[in-house]
C-alpha cells in the first residue's frame, strides 16, 4: 500500500505507483490518499477516527505500507501506533534536510522522491528485492542523474517537471446502446494517433436481440471471431457479458492488455441514432485531467426513461476487472425543465444548434473531409443514415444546420417500424374514430409503422427487396418507394436550404446498399436531374459487397 498526504507527497506517490506498474506489472499496488489525518487515529480517540474494520480494509495488517507525508514522520507513527498494520508501516517525510535548491531536490534530500519510494517498496515487500534488481538499479541511477542535471541546468529534469502518468495509447471501451442491442469497441488512441489517424481497434463486438435469445459476436486481434447464442435478459446482463469476455473470456486479453481498459464511454441512443449523448470516464490520472463533458443533444423524458436500464447496467462492475470505473453523469438541469416548455424549446432552438456531433453523421462528415481533403469550413454535406433507424443531416461549415431528427426517434425519414413524419392531426382523428390511447398511438407509430406497417410483411429492407423482385408484391413495392421517396424529399429540401451541396453521403445497412435506390428508380426515379445527382449503381453495389458484415476488417480503425 502506498499512502500519501499533502500535494507534493501525493504526486511523488502517484509517480512511484506508475513506475511500479510499468516495471512490475505483477505487483499489486494500492494508493491511499489521506485527506484527514485524524482518521488514522482509533475511533475511540477522535470523532474522525476510522473503525478498526474499515481501517484494516484499507491498510491490511500484513501488507507493507509506505506512507509519504509532507510533515515529520513521527506524527504518522503517533497517530497509527495502535493500528494492526503499524509494524508494517514505513513513513517517509521531512527530516530536516534541504537548502536553497530545486523543488524536486528538496524531496530527494528527504528521501521522499518517487525513486526512493520505489526503492522502499522493493526493500519492504517480501521477496521483491531478488527480482527487482534492475528496477532498483534504475531508480538509483535516476537519482544520480537528477543530481547531475540540476547542477548543470539549475532546474529539475523535464520528466519530473512535467509529470505524465500512464503509458502508450489509452485503451477506451466505447459502448453504443440500442433499444435491444449493445455494440462495443476497444480502441487504443492518443494525441499522436488522432493526429495521424492511426487509432487502433483492439476488439469489437455486438450483442443483439437483448431480452430474448441474444446473438453475440466478438472479435479481437489474434482471436478467432466468436458468434454465440445466449439468453440475456437486459442491457445490464449484456454489459456484464461483454466485460467478462474482455477481462477473462478472451484467451489473449491478458497478453494483449485488453483487460487494462483505462477509460470508457457510452453512447446511449434510443433505438436508433435520433438522440445521442456520449459521456466518458477515465482511470488515467493526469494533473491536467478534468471531468469529461456531456456532449451533444438534449434528451427528453422519453429517452431518459429508455436509457435508465443502461445507466443501471453501467454501474455493473466487471467480475475480476481492475482499472475499470464507470460514472454516469446526471443531467439534473434537464429534469428540472417543465416538459411542455422543454418540448417548445427543443423544437424552436435546439435543432439547428445541434452541431454535427450526432454520432454517425459526425463520423462520416469527418471521414468525408479526410477523403476529399476539405477543411471543416468547406464542408457542405448531406449525410443520410439508413439503418435500423434512419436520419438525415445537413452540414454546412462543420455544423448541422438542419436534421430530420426530432425530440424523439420518431420524426423524419421512414424507418423499419417507425412512420417518420406524419400529420399531427392524426392522433386526434384516430383517438375519436378508433378510441386509440396516447400509448397505443405511440406504439403504433414506433413499432408497427414504417416499412413493416406499409408492407404488412417485414421491417427488413433485404426481405422486402427480394419479396418485390420475386413476387412483385404490391405493398412491398409501396413500402420501398415510400422509403426512397422520403429520402429524396429530404435531400431536395436540404439542397434548397443549403443552396446546393458538395456531396451526399449514405451510410448504415440500407444506405451502404444501392438496391433500394435502384429499385426505387425503376418505379419512381431517384434521378434528381435538377441538382445533377446520379449515383452509379454498379459502384455502389461494389461498396455494399465489400462492407458485408461477414468481412473482418483489419484492426486499424477509420
Amino acid at each position: 500500500v502506498l499512502a500519501c498526504a499533502g500535494d507534493v507527497p501525493t504526486i511523488e506517490t502517484l509517480a512511484a505507483a506508475d513506475l511500479l506498474r510499468q516495471w512490475l506489472p505483477e505487483l499489486r499496488v494500492r494508493v491511499v490518499n489521506v485527506v484527514d489525518l485524524m482518521t488514522l487515529q482509533p475511533a475511540s480517540e477522535h470523532p474522525h477516527g476510522l473503525e478498526d474494520a474499515a481501517y484494516d480494509a484499507l491498510f491490511p495488517p500484513r501488507v507493507p505500507t509506505i506512507f509519504a507525508f509532507h510533515g515529520y514522520p513521527w506524527l504518522i507513527h503517533r497517530l497509527t501506533y495502535r493500528r494492526a498494520h503499524h509494524p508494517m508501516l514505513h513513513v517517509r517525510g521531512y527530516k530536516e534536510e534541504g537548502t536553497t535548491t530545486t523543488p524536486f531536490d528538496m524531496v530527494v534530500r528527504n528521501d521522499l522522491d518517487r525513486f526512493h519510494l520505489v526503492l522502499d517498496v522493493i526493500a519492504r515487500v517480501p521477496g521483491l528485492a531478488d527480482q527487482a534488481g534492475p528496477l532498483a538499479a534504475e531508480m538509483r541511477g535516476r537519482r544520480k542523474r537528477h543530481a547531475q542535471y540540476i547542477v548543470q541546468h539549475g532546474e529539475d529534469m523535464p520528466e519530473v517537471r512535467e509529470l505524465a502518468l500512464g503509458h502508450g495509447p489509452m485503451k477506451v471501451l466505447v459502448l453504443n446502446c440500442g433499444s435491444s442491442s449493445l455494440k462495443f469497441q476497444v480502441i487504443a488512441t492518443d494525441a499522436d494517433a488522432i493526429e495521424q489517424d492511426k487509432d487502433e481497434r483492439l476488439a469489437r463486438g455486438v450483442i443483439e436481440r437483448i431480452g430474448s435469445e441474444a446473438i453475440l459476436t466478438f472479435e479481437a486481434r489474434a482471436v478467432r471471431p466468436r458468434k454465440l447464442a445466449e439468453p440475456w435478459r437486459d442491457h445490464r446482463a449484456a454489459l456484464d457479458r461483454v466485460l467478462r469476455w474482455l477481462v477473462e473470456g478472451n484467451a489473449t486479453s491478458r497478453s494483449s492488455g485488453l483487460s487494462e481498459i483505462e477509460a470508457s464511454a457510452i453512447a446511449s441512443c434510443t433505438a436508433g441514432e435520433a438522440l445521442k449523448k456520449s459521456c466518458a470516464s477515465t482511470t488515467r490520472s493526469s494533473p491536467r485531467s478534468r471531468r469529461t463533458s456531456t456532449r451533444a443533444a438534449p434528451q427528453p423524458r422519453r429517452t431518459c426513461a429508455a436509457s435508465r436500464p443502461r445507466a443501471a447496467a453501467f454501474r455493473a462492475r466487471p467480475p475480476a476487472g481492475r482499472g475499470v470505473r464507470h460514472r454516469v453523469p446526471r443531467d439534473d438541469a434537464r429534469d428540472r425543465v417543465p416538459l411542455r416548455r422543454a418540448v417548445l424549446v427543443l423544437r424552436a432552438a435546439s435543432r439547428p444548434a445541434l452541431t454535427a456531433s450526432t454520432g454517425p453523421h459526425r463520423y462520416v462528415a469527418y471521414r468525408w473531409r479526410r477523403l476529399t481533403g476539405r477543411s471543416k469550413e468547406e464542408t457542405k454535406l448531406i449525410t443520410i443514415h439508413l439503418g435500423n433507424g434512419c436520419s438525415a443531416c445537413a452540414i454546412v461549415g462543420g455544423r448541422s444546420i438542419d436534421t430530420s431528427m426530432g425530440m424523439t426517434p420518431l420524426e423524419g425519414l421512414v424507418m423499419g417500424t417507425r412512420a417518420g413524419d406524419i400529420d399531427p392531426g392524426l392522433f386526434q382523428y384516430l383517438a375519436h374514430k378508433e378510441g386509440l390511447s396516447p400509448d397505443e398511438f405511440d406504439a403504433m407509430l414506433n413499432k408497427q409503422a414504417g416499412l413493416l406497417g406499409v408492407s404488412g410483411l417485414t421491417h427488413d429492407m433485404r426481405d422486402l427487396l427480394s419479396e418485390a423482385a420475386e413476387h412483385g408484391d404490391r405493398r412491398a413495392h409501396l413500402a420501398i418507394d415510400l422509403f426512397v421517396g422520403r429520402v429524396r424529399k429530404y435531400i431536395g429540401a436540404y439542397l434548397a436550404e443549403m443552396n446546393g451541396a458538395e456531396g451526399i453521403v449514405f451510410m448504415g445497412g440500407i444506405g451502404e446498399n444501392s438496391a433500394p435506390f435502384a429499385r426505387g428508380s425503376a418505379r419512381t426515379s431517384t434521378r434528381s436531374e435538377s441538382c445533377s445527382t446520379r449515383a452509379q449503381e454498379r459502384r455502389w453495389s461494389t461498396a455494399a459487397k465489400a462492407t458485408s458484415p461477414r468481412r473482418i476488417e483489419a484492426c486499424a480503425c477509420g
Binding site: 455494440k183 492518443d190 488522432i194 477509460a263 466518458a280 478534468r290 456532449r295 462520416v364 441538382c531
Partner: protein, 42 residues
C-alpha cells in the same frame, strides 16, 4: 472507391457527388474520451 469499401459512387459527370461511407462513430467517441481525459483541446 477507397479500399473498396467507401468512396464516391456518383456518375462522373455529376456536380453533386454521392458517397458511401460506413459509419464508425465509436472512433470519434473514443477520441473525445481520450482528449477529455488527457486535457487536450479540441
Amino acid at each position: 472507391m477507397v479500399d473498396g469499401r467507401e468512396g464516391d459512387v456518383a456518375a462522373p459527370d455529376r456536380s453533386v457527388r454521392v458517397w458511401v461511407i460506413p459509419t464508425n462513430e465509436e472512433l470519434l467517441i473514443a477520441r473525445d474520451t481520450v482528449r477529455d481525459a488527457l486535457g487536450i483541446e479540441h
